[in-house]
């Protein structure tokens, strides 16, 4: 094996093992065929191509219907939002507080908009990658400078929009309309955010807090426009799947932009106010579940794509319920360990742990009850996998809870004082397995324990999240409205067909 082949094979490690086993030799052979004589190292472009291909495989999005086209649709929107948000934050928000390193990232994104407009098409991706790298390295660089970094949630939102812009932009040449769209959109976004800030009840005096919700309204408008395009698409005889993907991709980071602290219906002092963390968890979970629904929802199946090797899109079976049960059980153990470890076993935490435990038991027993008649594989293998998943979930919950503690105690690694508040925040991590379990139960076969588990999870989610409705980001109501409009539109269409 030559040094070049060995290096290509090392890059192939980005792909999952099963894919490497079936395709690895073939891809490496093609790379070697393409390599000019004397080449000893993979080029940067080759490495980026393999890393991207491998990550898409690992994330399970390599062959999702409509996702690529959705990314292409979302990319200019993401770049426009990045450019507009950068201009707004730089010129309207930065001067109000102590200076941060933010302008470095803002300048990079504005430059990327300019490159997309003016430079040859092959420069766009490097410009986007540079801006993304600048954004993601700011937290590491900031301690070396006298400046602070911008808030973490700003960097996270910019990073995810940046990944969308980069992944959806090809090196192919574009016409003037496509070149100008991000720059013109950025101007519209910046003006929109400025107008929202002017009309805001409290004038823009503070630092990033109100600006975040103001940007959230502009992003919600973009999501609403994309949703409207998706809703009107069937009349133009094009599949709306790619438009729906574009809407959800923009909505994912968009759902993180909402008000920070608001008055809620709940008036207990035991719980922390609904913060950015709960908002991000809720928004991410809801959008990801909608994406999962879109991915598995196939209204029509032609014989051509009824391929047995393809990931068949059916309702989740006992295995999915087993995974959900393992996640709930692991989360319960992890949370209990964390709150006991920091010595803040609150009633709120105990109740959440109990809900997770009971729901896990219900989902777990439903699986055993169904599986006895038709068990074909080795009986222990599934259980071993579930125990391993539960262990992973417990470790991940502990690590996540510790990270939440570090975050909520002003980025200190120990000697925390606000233990009750920290425990309350950490408990909101349960939103993820609860939502997954509720979704799995909703999509599963109707069995009494499954329905009970689903109601329990959904009910507790509602108790955790609904009282904080005023603090939800504006993107979520827009998405919900789009879903309702879609449902309403489908009614007359159905009646029309049965009419005379």
């Amino acid at each position: 094996m030559t040094a070049l082949e060995r290096r290509y094979r090392r890059l192939m490690l980005w792909y999952p093992r099963s894919y490497r086993d079936s395709r690895g030799d073939e891809i490496v052979s093609t790379l070697l065929d393409l390599a000019p004589p004397g080449q000893r190292w993979p080029t940067a472009v080759e490495a980026a191509d393999l890393i991207e291909g491998g990550l898409r495989r690992r994330l399970g999005v390599a062959t999702v219907d409509g996702l690529d086209e959705g990314l292409r649709r979302a990319a200019p929107v993401a770049l426009a939002l990045l450019g507009g948000a950068a201009a707004f934050l730089w010129w309207r928000v930065e001067p109000l507080g102590p200076p941060t390193l933010g302008p470095a990232a803002y300048a990079a994104w504005l430059l990327a908009c300019a490159v997309a407009l003016l430079a040859p098409a092959r420069w766009t991706r490097p410009a986007l990658a540079t801006a993304l790298a600048v954004t993601m390295t700011l937290p590491a660089v900031a301690p070396l400078t006298p400046y602070a970094r911008p808030p973490v949630w700003v960097l996270m939102t910019f990073s995810v929009f940046g990944v969308i812009a980069l992944a959806g932009t090809g090196p192919w040449s574009r016409d003037l309309e496509r070149r100008a769209a991000p720059a013109l959109g950025a101007i519209a976004v910046a003006c929109g955010a400025h107008l929202v800030a002017q009309a805001w009840p409290d004038p823009l005096v503070g630092y990033y807090q109100p600006a975040f919700a103001q940007l959230g309204l502009v992003v919600a408008a973009a999501v609403g426009a994309l949703a409207a395009l998706a809703l009107t698409a069937p009349r133009h005889d094009a599949p709306p799947r790619s438009q729906l993907w574009a809407t959800l991709l923009i909505a994912l980071p968009g759902a993180w932009l909402g008000p920070f602290d608001t008055d809620t219906w709940r008036a207990t002092t035991a719980l922390p106010p609904f913060g950015r963390l709960a908002q991000v968890l809720l928004g991410t979970t809801l959008v990801l579940l909608t994406m999962a629904r879109l991915r598995t929802h196939r209204p029509r199946r032609t014989p051509a794509n009824a391929d047995p090797s393809g990931a068949s899109a059916t309702a989740p079976g006992p295995q999915a319920r087993g995974v959900a049960a393992a996640m709930l059980a692991g989360c319960a153990v992890g949370l209990l360990g964390f709150v006991a470890g920091i010595g803040a076993v609150t009633g709120h935490a105990v109740a959440t742990v109990l809900v997770c435990g009971v729901a896990a038991a219900l989902l777990g027993t439903s699986r055993a009850g169904r599986g006895t008649g038709q068990r074909t594989r080795a009986p222990g293998s599934g259980l071993v996998a579930r125990v391993r998943e539960a262990g992973l979930a417990a470790v991940a919950t502990l690590a996540g809870a510790y990270a939440v503690g570090v975050y909520s105690n002003d980025w200190t690694f120990g000697g925390w004082t606000e233990l009750t508040r920290t425990a309350g925040l950490a408990v909101s991590l349960a939103v993820v397995p609860l939502a997954f379990a509720a979704y799995t139960a909703y999509r599963s076969a109707r069995q009494v324990p499954v329905v009970a588990a689903g109601l329990l999870c959904a009910g507790w989610l509602g108790w955790l999240m609904l009282p904080e409705l005023p603090a939800w980001g504006p993107v979520l109501p827009v998405l919900a409205a789009a879903g309702l409009v879609r449902a309403a539109l489908s009614i007359p269409a159905w009646r029309g067909r049965t009419g005379p």
Partner: protein
Amino acid sequence: MSAPLQEPTFLILSALAAGPMHGYGVIQEVEALSGGRVSLRPGTLYGALDRLSEQGLVAQDGEEVVDGRLRRYYRLTDPGATVLDAEVQRMTGNARAAAARLRRRAGTAPA
């Protein structure tokens, strides 16, 4: 018919229209077909081939080992040929309409 094909997809299907081809051959053929404009990278190519296989537009067609390198061949399926043909019809229609407009313009424009 659904949305127009993306250019790389169109070029891959066109490359396979003449006969079965392995990955390296497809990359060379796509480059030649596009006049050197589109040069596919292997990660992108195999991602596209996976997707097209799943949609039933292309299928595997035997393999061989040459100089220790695995070459797997792909062919255009009948549904793939139908999709490609529909796209060619669409593009031909557009091109014909545009050419007619240009001729009319040449007829009316002052010399």
